[in-house]
Amino acid sequence: MATGYIIVNLLACVLVVTSTMVVLMRKLRSAAWTYAVQSLVLVCIFITLATTAGSTGLYLWSASAFVTKVVLVPAIILYTIKKIGDTADAELPVKLTPTRCVMLVVAELIVCFVAVLGVELPTAGEVRPALAISLAHFFIGLTCIVSQRNIVKQIFGYCLMENGSHLTLALLAPAAPHIVETGIATDAIFAVIIMAIVAYRIHRVTGSLDAEDLMELKG
C-alpha cells in the first residue's frame, strides 16, 4: 500500500477521535474550536489524497474545505454564541453520558467496518479503513444531533454528517468536478447560517437553547 494511503487511514483515525471530542465537549466555545481542529484534520486528508493520487482538483477541495469548514463554520458559531451571551453555555442535563456516547461511537465504527467490507469498488481498495470511518463519521454526527439538548450543539451534528459525506466523496470519487464539491459546501454553509439565525431567534423568544423547551407541538 502506498505511504500516502497509510497516512490517509491514520488521519481518518485522528478524525474520528476529534469528532467524538466535538460531541463530548460541554462548552460551546470549546466545541467550536474542536470542530475547527477536526475540520483541519479533514483538510489534511484531502491534501494527502491529492498528493498521493496526483489530483489537482483535490487541492482545490482542500482550499475550499479550509475556508468553509475550518474558518467559516466555527466563526459563524462563535459569533452566534457571542450574540447570545453567557446563557449560551448554560449547563443542560445530558441525554447520553460520555461513556455511553463513546460506546455508541465504537459500535457505529464496528458496524461501518463490516458494511464497507462488502464494497467492491476499485477506488475503495486501499482506503477501506478511511471509508469505514467516513461512514461512521456520518453516524457520529447523527449521534450528536440526537444526544444533545443544546440546539447550537446540534448544528455541529449536522456539520459532522456533512463532513462524513464529503470525505466519502473524496475517497471514492477524487476526480469529481470541483463544482460538485462547491455546490455541497455552499449549501452546507447556508444551512449553518440559517440554523444559527433560527437558534438565535429561539433564544431571543424563549431565553433558552434547550431542545426540551421546544416540545410544545406534539401529537
Binding site: I151, L169, I184
Partner: protein
C-alpha cells in the same frame, strides 16, 4: 429565444424576483410594490412553465440547458406543471391572506417583504429540483428548498412557529444528509464503471448503464436515498417535522409545502428508483417502499383521527398520501407507477385547495381548533361548500380526482398479487374517511361562536380555490387526454419501455388487467 434559453429564464425569473424584493428597503416601499413583483414572478413561472411543458409534450423531445445539467422530459414535465400551476394559484391566494395578517397585526412590513422574497426563492429551488439532470444538483436543490422555506415556516416569529422552523430545518437537513450520502455512493460507483467518468453525474447517463453498477453499493445507496429524501417527502417514521411545519406556517406556505414540495422529494426518489430497479431489480426497492408506504398510511390514518387542529389533520393526511405514492411506486409495473404519478398530481391540487381553505377559516375564526371552528356554513357559505367538496375529494370519493388514482392503486396491488395490502389499505383509508367526515360536519355545521363576524373572505382568495375545486372535479369526471398521455409518457421513462397504462381509461385498464 431558443427553448434552452426559455428554460434558463423560467428558473432565473423567480430568483431575480426574490433578489429584487430582498434588495428593496421594507419601510420605503408600500406592500403593493412587493405584491406586484410577486405577481409578475408567479405569472412568469406559470406562463413559461406551461409553455415549455406544452412544447415538450407536443414535440415529444426533451429540452436541455446548461450543458445537460437541466432537462425537461416527460417525467419532470409532470412536476413542473404542478409547480407552475399550484405555485401561481397559491401565490394569488397569498395576497389577500397576507393582507389579512397585516391588518390583524400578525405581520409587519419586514415580515411581508421576506414572505414574498422567500416565496419566489421557494419556487426557484423547486423548479431547479424538478429540472435537474445532475444527481448531486438534485440533492443541492432539495436542501435548498429546505433553506428557502425555513423562514416561511417561521414567518410569524412566535415561539411555536420558531419551534416548528427549528424541527423542520434540523430534521430535514439531517435527513437529507442521508440522501447526499446515497447520492455520492451512486455517483462514485458510476464514475468507476462509465467509459467517460465525467458523465457519471448525469441521471440520463447512469440509467442506461445501471446494470453495470455494484449491486451491494446500490442497495445501500437506495436505502440512504429513501431515508433521506423520504424525510423531506414526509414518509413515516421520518415525518416528524411535517405536522409542526405545516400547521405553524402561513396557510399558503402549507399549501405549497404539501401540494408541491413533498412531490419534488418524491421525484428524486423516483429518479433513484429507476437506477436501482435497472441494477438490482424491483424486489429490494419494493420491499422498502411498500413497507414504508403501508406504515405511513396506517400510522397517518389514526393520527388524522386523533387531531383537533384542522391544519395538523391535513398535515397528517399528507403523510398518508405520500405513503400511497410510495406504495404505488413499490408495487411497480406500469399501472402502479401511473397511479403514483396521478396521485402526485391529484393530491397536489386537492391538498393545495384544503390548505387554502384552512387559511379562509383562520381569517374568519383566528383559530384552527375544531372546538372553536363550527358553523362555517352560516359564517362563509362559499368557503363552507368548498370545504365540503375538499373533504370529499380528500377522502377519495367519486367523482373527484383522487378516486381515480386510489382505485388505480388498488388495481395495481391486485395485479401484483398483494390482496392483503388491499385489505389493510381499505381499512386504514376508511379511518381517514371517518376522520375527514367528522371534520367536515363539525366545521361546516353547528353554530359559530358569537364573536365571529359573518361574511365571505375576499374574492381574490376564493377565485384560486374555486379553480382548484373545478380542476379536481373535472379530473375526477374525465381525466383530460393530455394529462393521460403526459402520465403515460412519464411512466414510460420510469419503467424504461414504451407503455400506455392509462391511454384508454385508467379505470377500464385496471379492471381489464385484474380480470386477466
Amino acid at each position: 429565444m431558443s427553448l434552452s434559453t426559455c428554460m434558463i429564464v423560467l428558473m432565473a425569473a423567480p430568483l431575480i424576483a426574490a433578489l429584487a424584493i430582498a434588495a428593496l428597503p421594507s419601510k420605503a416601499f408600500p406592500r403593493a410594490v412587493y405584491e406586484c413583483i410577486h405577481v409578475v414572478s408567479i405569472g412568469f413561472v406559470l406562463a413559461l412553465g406551461v409553455y415549455l411543458v406544452y412544447v415538450e409534450f407536443t414535440t415529444n423531445t426533451p429540452i436541455t440547458a446548461l450543458s445537460n445539467w437541466c432537462r425537461l422530459d416527460a417525467l419532470s414535465s409532470v412536476f413542473v406543471t404542478l409547480i407552475s400551476i399550484i405555485g401561481a394559484l397559491v401565490g394569488i391566494f397569498s395576497i389577500p391572506y397576507i393582507q389579512h395578517d397585516v391588518d390583524a397585526g400578525h405581520m409587519d412590513a419586514g415580515q411581508v417583504k421576506s414572505y414574498y422574497a422567500f416565496y419566489s426563492l421557494f419556487l426557484f429551488t423547486m423548479l431547479l429540483a424538478a429540472l435537474s439532470n445532475n444527481i448531486i444538483m438534485m440533492w443541492v436543490c432539495i436542501e435548498a428548498t429546505t433553506l428557502a422555506t425555513v423562514f416561511l415556516v417561521g414567518a410569524y416569529k412566535t415561539k411555536l412557529a420558531l419551534e416548528a422552523a427549528w424541527k423542520y430545518i434540523i430534521v430535514c437537513a439531517a435527513g437529507v444528509a442521508f440522501g447526499l450520502y446515497g447520492t455520492l455512493l451512486v455517483y462514485a460507483n458510476a464514475a468507476d464503471v462509465l467509459d467517460d467518468p465525467s458523465q457519471a453525474i448525469f441521471w440520463t447517463s447512469i440509467v442506461p448503464n445501471a446494470d453495470k453498477l455494484d449491486p451491494m453499493l446500490l442497495a445501500i445507496s437506495f436505502t440512504f436515498v429513501v431515508i433521506g429524501f423520504g424525510t423531506k417527502a414526509g414518509l413515516f417514521p421520518m415525518h416528524t417535522w411535517l405536522p409542526d411545519a405545516h400547521s405553524e406556517a402561513p396557510s399558503p406556505v402549507s399549501a405549497l409545502l404539501s401540494g408541491v414540495l413533498l412531490k419534488c422529494a418524491v421525484l428524486v426518489i423516483i429518479r433513484f428508483y429507476v437506477i436501482t430497479v435497472g441494477c438490482i431489480g424491483i424486489v429490494f426497492p419494493r420491499a422498502i417502499l411498500v413497507t414504508l408506504g403501508t406504515l405511513s398510511v396506517v400510522y397517518a390514518a389514526f393520527a388524522i383521527f386523533k387531531q383537533d387542529d384542522i391544519k395538523r389533520k391535513l398535515a397528517y393526511s399528507s403523510t398518508d398520501n405520500i405513503g400511497i405514492v410510495a406504495l404505488c411506486l413499490g408495487l411497480g409495473g406500469p399501472l402502479g407507477i401511473a397511479a403514483a404519478l396521478l396521485h402526485c398530481i391529484f393530491h397536489g391540487c386537492t391538498k393545495a385547495l384544503m390548505f387554502c381553505l384552512s387559511g379562509n377559516i383562520l381569517m374568519k375564526y383566528d383559530s384552527r381548533s375544531m372546538r372553536r371552528v363550527n358553523g362555517l356554513l352560516e359564517v362563509a357559505p362559499v368557503t363552507a361548500v368548498l370545504f365540503f367538496v375538499g373533504c370529499f375529494a380528500l377522502s377519495a370519493f367519486p367523482p373527484f380526482a383522487m378516486f381515480i388514482s386510489e382505485i388505480t392503486m388498488y388495481f395495481a396491488a391486485i395485479v401484483q398479487g398483494y390482496l392483503w395490502l388491499v385489505i389493510i389499505l381499505g381499512l386504514a383509508l376508511t379511518v381517514v374517511v371517518a376522520a375527514l367526515a367528522i371534520m367536515c360536519v363539525r366545521v361546516d355545521f353547528g353554530h359559530a361562536p358569537a364573536d365571529v363576524k359573518k361574511g365571505e373572505v375576499p374574492v381574490m382568495a376564493l377565485v384560486p380555490e374555486v379553480i382548484l375545486a373545478a380542476v379536481i372535479l373535472w379530473f375526477g369526471i374525465a381525466v383530460p387526454q393530455p394529462v393521460v398521455e403526459g402520465v403515460d409518457n412519464a411512466t414510460s421513462i420510469i419503467v424504461q419501455e414504451q407503455v400506455d397504462p392509462l391511454y384508454s381509461d385508467a379505470l377500464l385498464t385496471g379492471i381489464a388487467q385484474v380480470n386477466k
